[in-house]
């Protein structure tokens, strides 16, 4: 079984467009959306949810105003400025370390378990799909990513799937690292802009740091052919194979509006190029 994650560093370069196309091209696979705080793949795959799970993670402090003597030990010790001068805890600022509860001399502080989101096992016409929704303004997205990936792996093993295909989040931080660890291939999607190149450099560094093999695709390459060439030269110097160049096309936006993977929306060179990319990535 091969695990493939699609990442980019920079947001909006075409990760979900490409992952959605893979969903329609790959045969026996499990699809995963690891962009848990701004998920979009469901808008192309139209899942029907079979199993809903609560994601509990972390904790936040709650101060009992009846017991509290306003001594201030908790707020002095809190590194996250989560306790106001009126001794109320901001659940958004609180990182759940529990130091305040341990220090409180009158035991007025309790740590409450936090519901940080939900994750789902769904059926789609492209096969099983595991996805999630992080609660608004919640943390621990990395843990939710790990949870979703664990569930996908179980399903893939049970079904004897040949591929797990993961739509990754933007950036290089905690949820990206959780999406990347232990995969067989990271497919990087970038665009021919200075920002696209800069962010691809950092995401290549990240994959290298975690010893993950990478390949790269340039999306909308003809928006700036010179910049595309620059990216290709850079990739050569880093020994990252550029396995495809997707031209800019109105059809991409239209397919998203139609809620369909691009390869089911259009025929011709665009579909051929993406099919060729999948043949390299999937093998």
């Amino acid at each position: 079984m091969k695990q493939i994650v699609v990442i980019s560093g920079k947001g909006g370069t075409g990760k979900t467009m490409l992952t959605g196309a893979f969903a329609s091209l790959a045969k026996n696979k499990v699809m995963v959306d690891c962009d848990v705080d701004a998920a979009n793949l469901h808008l192309l795959l139209h899942p029907s949810i079979k199993e809903r799970n609560i994601f509990k993670s972390g904790a936040f402090a709650k101060i009992d105003p009846v017991l509290c003597t306003h001594c201030g030990q908790c707020s002095d010790a809190c590194r996250f400025q989560a306790i106001s001068s009126e001794f109320a805890v901001s659940p958004i600022a609180c990182e759940g370390c529990g130091l305040c509860a341990r220090l409180c001399p009158v035991n007025a502080i309790r740590m409450k378990e936090n519901t940080a989101g939900e994750w789902f096992i769904s059926e789609t016409r492209y096969g099983p799909f595991v996805h999630a929704k992080l609660g608004i303004a919640e943390e621990n997205s990395g843990k939710l990513v790990a949870k979703v990936r664990e569930a996908a792996k179980e399903i893939a093993e049970k079904n004897g799937a040949t591929h797990i295909i993961i739509d990754g989040p933007p950036g290089i931080g905690c949820p990206v690292i959780a999406s990347l660890s232990g995969v067989d291939l990271a497919l990087i999607v970038t665009e021919p802009t200075l920002s696209g190149l800069h962010d691809a450099e950092r995401v290549i560094d990240l994959a290298e740091h975690f010893n993950v093999q990478t390949q790269l695709v340039i999306n909308k390459w003809d928006i700036n052919p010179e910049a595309s060439e620059k990216i290709e030269r850079y990739c050569e110097s880093r020994r990252v194979p550029v396995i495809g160049k997707i031209p800019f096309a109105r059809a991409v936006i239209e397919s998203v509006i139609a809620g369909k993977p691009i390869t089911e929306y259009t025929n011709g060179p665009l579909k051929n190029e993406i099919t060729k990319i999948w043949e390299v990535v999937g093998c």
């Binding site: 947001g11 808008l43 590194r79 600022a93 303004a137 690292i177 802009t193 740091h209």
Partner: protein
């Protein structure tokens, strides 16, 4: 006045809006809080005059005094410690720097040291003061670095914050305590889906907001009706224009070639000033 620029979905034009807006103001600060992938400097090209490491406080164990009691492991909510017979393993990437271990160690064997997680750069372009954070590749914790970038905000100036995408802790840390949040989106189902999430986030934080529609389609009835039905102020529309996309690709702020947008950004700023006055 602190104005943050956020989006939910990545690649909608946060940096474009943040940089062009800053360039249209007199005496502004621009803070790039997208510390995982900072891009504002590609467009601003400020002269960087100061660089310093950004650090978090992590524990260091004095093995001369440690009796391997395991308190540090037990009190750590982030599972950053593991205990072996004659060794305490510490995983710095898990540590949130809460200080519980050093504070509660009964032997007093833990002191805190600074561990670098990235860099802060400070620069200037004309009358814009620029501050950016850069997370070191492989580090997981963007929020402490974002907080350190924001500690450079000068309250006497207008501060523009370029926020990271998403709605999780990095985005929340960046937009928290703003007086106004500009949410940049595009008229695609992905853009509108993530805009909804971003709106819920800023509402939860109690921050007034307005929308900039990037790559706007002419006569887009669908999004217009949506904004009207939900009473969402649209501050500015930037049309889809290949020339703007080309300028972006080479790192040129588009107001330099579309001067008519200078007035539009200034009007947007005045709108924000007026609307926050009413709220205050």
């Amino acid at each position: 006045m602190i104005i943050s620029v956020a989006s939910g979905k990545g690649g909608t034009g946060k940096t474009t809006v943040a940089v062009n807006l800053a360039l249209c103001l007199e005496q502004a600060q621009l803070l790039d809080c997208d510390v995982e992938e900072p891009n504002a400097q590609i467009f601003l090209k400020a002269n960087i005059c100061d660089r310093k490491p950004a650090t978090v406080r992590v524990p260091e164990i004095d093995y001369g005094k440690c009796n391997f009691c395991g308190t540090c492991r037990d009190v750590c909510a982030y599972h950053a410690f593991a205990l072996l017979p004659k060794k305490v393993l510490f995983f710095p990437q898990m540590c949130h720097g809460c200080g519980a271990c050093s504070r509660l160690c009964p032997q007093g064997t833990i002191r805190e040291i600074d561990r670098p997680i990235g860099e802060i750069e400070i620069g200037q372009r004309n009358d814009i003061r620029f501050i950016q954070g850069k997370l070191t590749v492989g580090e997981t914790m963007a929020p402490p670095l974002i907080r350190q970038v924001k500690s450079h905000i000068d309250p006497s100036l207008t501060a523009i914050i370029d926020a990271p995408p998403g709605t999780a802790c990095p985005m929340v840390t960046a937009v928290k305590d703003s007086d106004f949040c500009i949410l940049v989106t595009e008229p695609t189902p992905f853009g509108m889906n993530d805009l909804q999430l971003a709106i819920e986030t800023v509402q939860k934080l109690g921050i007034p907001y307005g929308v900039v529609m990037n790559r706007a389609e002419p006569d887009d009835l669908r999004t217009r009706l949506y904004f009207k039905a939900h009473d969402i102020p649209v501050l500015l529309k930037i049309p889809f224009d290949r020339k703007i996309a080309e300028l972006y690709s080479v790192g040129i702020p588009f107001i330099e070639q579309f001067p008519e947008y200078r007035t539009k950004f200034q009007e947007l700023f005045r709108f924000i000033l007026d609307s926050t006055k009413v709220v205050a």
